[in-house]
Amino acid sequence: MMPEMHFDEEQPDIPEGQRRRPTGVAAPAVIRSGREVISAELALTIYRQMVRTRALEERSIKMSKSGEAYFWIGGPGEEVVNVCLGLQVHKGEGPAYDYLHLHYRNAGVMLAMGMPMIDHVRQLAMRWTDPHSRGRNFVGHYAVKKWNVVPVTSVIEVQFAMAPGTALMQKRHGLKYPQENEGITIVVGGEAGTAEGDFETCLNWSSRPGNELPVLMIVTNNRFGISTDFTLVCAEKRVADRALPYGIRAETVDGNDPVLVWNALDRAMRYCRRERKPYLLETLVSRLHGHSSSSGAQRDWKQPDPLQMFEEKLLAAGAMDANTVETLWADARAEAEAAVAAAMREPEPRPEDVYRFTYAPSPVDVVYPQDYTGLPGQKDAPEGAG
């Protein structure tokens, strides 16, 4: 069984022993896509995190089908964007660090940042130990204050209305503490959500003349809004074009290619950090298991699999061998399995926990100076609530 990991522990990179390559084949220094490159070492790190993410998602789907959980939603097919983003986030708490306004397909971001698998599973299994929502929210609805991951909602695109607020505080913070002037706001949503006004809110509020904000808007375009094809409801060819009238810099990138995505994210994040201005990055991604368990979560074999493609690329380049692939998959699956086994043994919420964490303690509230305990004056308020 894998030991349980905690937030503060650094994730191990590729263990030394797994980096062996076939004798006589020179390991490549870099992995290429067209004119863009990343180091082979980075490629292996990305690959490993993609495998971990996929293994966790596949085990999560199984949970929803086995009755261990009610519902699954996630991002198989979006691992490239998620992992590359998670590895580049400036992680920490407060405006000097990056704020993350994620959506519900971002397990890879969180794993790459160092979240232990079990914290994803705890939410899926609706345990009291779920640190994101105490078993209250759907899976993938993360909330981690110490990493500036604000609560994920199921209401699509509302996160785009909130992003200018954190970015505003970051811009001010940078003016006050120039040496820390690097925190940016990253907001992620799907292309279907760009039909909501909140997407336009973000473009507008982030680009007000003289008040431009460091917001990186990432649209993961999988071409489906649940079951509705993007081309049937949207006339524009590229979501990224929506940035044009606002004078916001934008790019569309193949979201299934880690080399391209890594560099596109790097460019976008550097721009937001340095210029303190917004950037729109559209990534074209796959959706390998449909919308969610509500649509069956069956594998769609017609969709290109970015993980398989990257695996083949790294093998062909000699960056890793079949043995490494096998080991990484076995480790990732064992890690996911252990996380599920451990989480399922953990306690569920108690009836009186219904009320908890409704209100923060308030010095000016005479009814709820601590927390909510039921209606004001209610005589049967549960013991221990609040």
């Binding site: 929502s133 209305a161 954190t166 964490f357």
Partner: protein, 352 residues
């Protein structure tokens, strides 16, 4: 004797100087206008937003996530309806995140009829507001309470919806805010922006002091044993006037309760009064189907059925989709003084 608009402005100024308010913002909230009701004139952190209510609430949430202390405004509560889901989300952030994230925002919005506002500037929001678990809802009926409730709203680390009774915003108070000059003309010269060019105008703030009206504490503004009249906001002065008339003309004394906080509400005070009088009237101007008064009536009936002498009542706005422009519509849609008067008399007249 500040008006309610001036009182809120003074409270926001105090909030900026002493309570860590980082942003006061909304549509036309910053210079040159300082708010369509002048509530935010001259404030140092006030700024104008795009005409976008969703952006206002979303940005307030973002500012709060990042450690700021925002007070934002929805220009009229009629425009809060397109942002109900964000209000719901703001109210659930702490609960949904298992205590990870607090949501210390204040949203103020003028509510109710009484300014000849027609269909889209006369709606009430109190009943909608109380359907937003996770929020605290306050509504003053006089300038001093408006000041004290705003300071409490700012100090409270939870989302607070601050409902401004539109019709009372320009009504002068009877009690001084601590630190306010005695002379209302002097106060006006100090903090009211001049008509016309305001480019070089800056307010001279009086040294106002901390004065808190605790959230969840109602005020018993008149005392009596004949009946309990519960109200808040615009209709509270009408209830006082009607009750005072009864006292003068017939020597009848009623409890009049100014709720001030709609959630959490002061159940203890309501409960004590109902036990004492056995007769209850609740007055507000929101529409009558699924009105907040209905919740109070339900509890009163359930918990005080055997204390009641006669059936309890609620006087509320008519269940119509808007307040028509012609005053015939408005007068006949929301309770007027004569309606309050008649309702109290009817309540008292019914044999026990």
């Amino acid at each position: 004797m500040a008006t309610m608009a001036q009182a809120v402005r003074l409270a926001l100024h105090y909030g900026e100087e002493h309570l860590g308010v980082t942003d006061v913002f909304g549509e036309d909230v910053g210079p040159p206008l300082g708010g369509v009701f002048t509530v935010t004139q001259g404030l140092k952190t006030a700024w104008n937003t795009p005409l976008d209510e969703r952006g206002i609430i979303g940005t307030a949430m973002g500012i709060a996530y990042a450690g700021g202390r925002p007070v934002c405004e929805i220009q009229f509560c009629d425009y809060a309806f397109n942002v109900l889901d964000l209000l719901k989300i703001a109210g659930n952030q702490r609960w949904a995140s298992g205590g990870e994230y607090d949501m210390p925002i204040v949203v103020m919005t003028p509510t109710g009829a009484g300014i000849r506002g027609s269909i889209y500037h006369s709606h009430s929001f109190d009943s909608w507001a109380t359907r937003l678990p996770g929020w605290k809802i306050v509504m003053p009926s006089n300038p001093l309470d408006a000041y004290g409730l705003m300071l409490a709203a700012i100090l409270d680390p939870n989302p607070v919806l601050y409902l401004l009774p539109k019709a009372l915003l320009r009504v002068r108070g009877e009690r001084l805010i601590p630190g306010e000059p005695d002379d209302p003309e002097q106060l006006s010269r100090m903090i009211d922006a001049p008509i016309g060019d305001r480019t070089h105008w800056t307010p001279q703030w009086p040294p106002v002091q901390e004065y808190i009206v605790p959230i969840g504490r109602a005020e018993l503004v008149r005392q009596g044993s004949e009946a309990t009249i519960i109200s808040y906001g615009r209709h509270l002065p009408m209830c006082i006037q009607a009750a005072d008339e009864l006292t003068r003309q017939e020597g009848i004394h009623c409890d009049v309760i100014d709720l001030r906080s709609l959630f959490p509400y002061d159940w203890e005070l309501i409960s004590q009064s109902v036990r004492k009088t056995g007769r209850v009237l609740i007055v507000n101007e929101d529409t009558e189907v699924t009105n907040f008064a209905e919740h109070l009536l339900r509890r009163i009936v359930e918990e005080h059925f055997y204390d009641l002498l006669v059936r309890p009542r609620a006087l509320m706005g008519k269940h119509v989709p808007g307040i028509g422009m012609n005053q015939v519509y408005e007068r006949n849609s929301v309770p007027q003084l004569e309606d309050v008067r008649a309702a109290i008399r009817e309540l008292l007249a019914e044999p026990a």
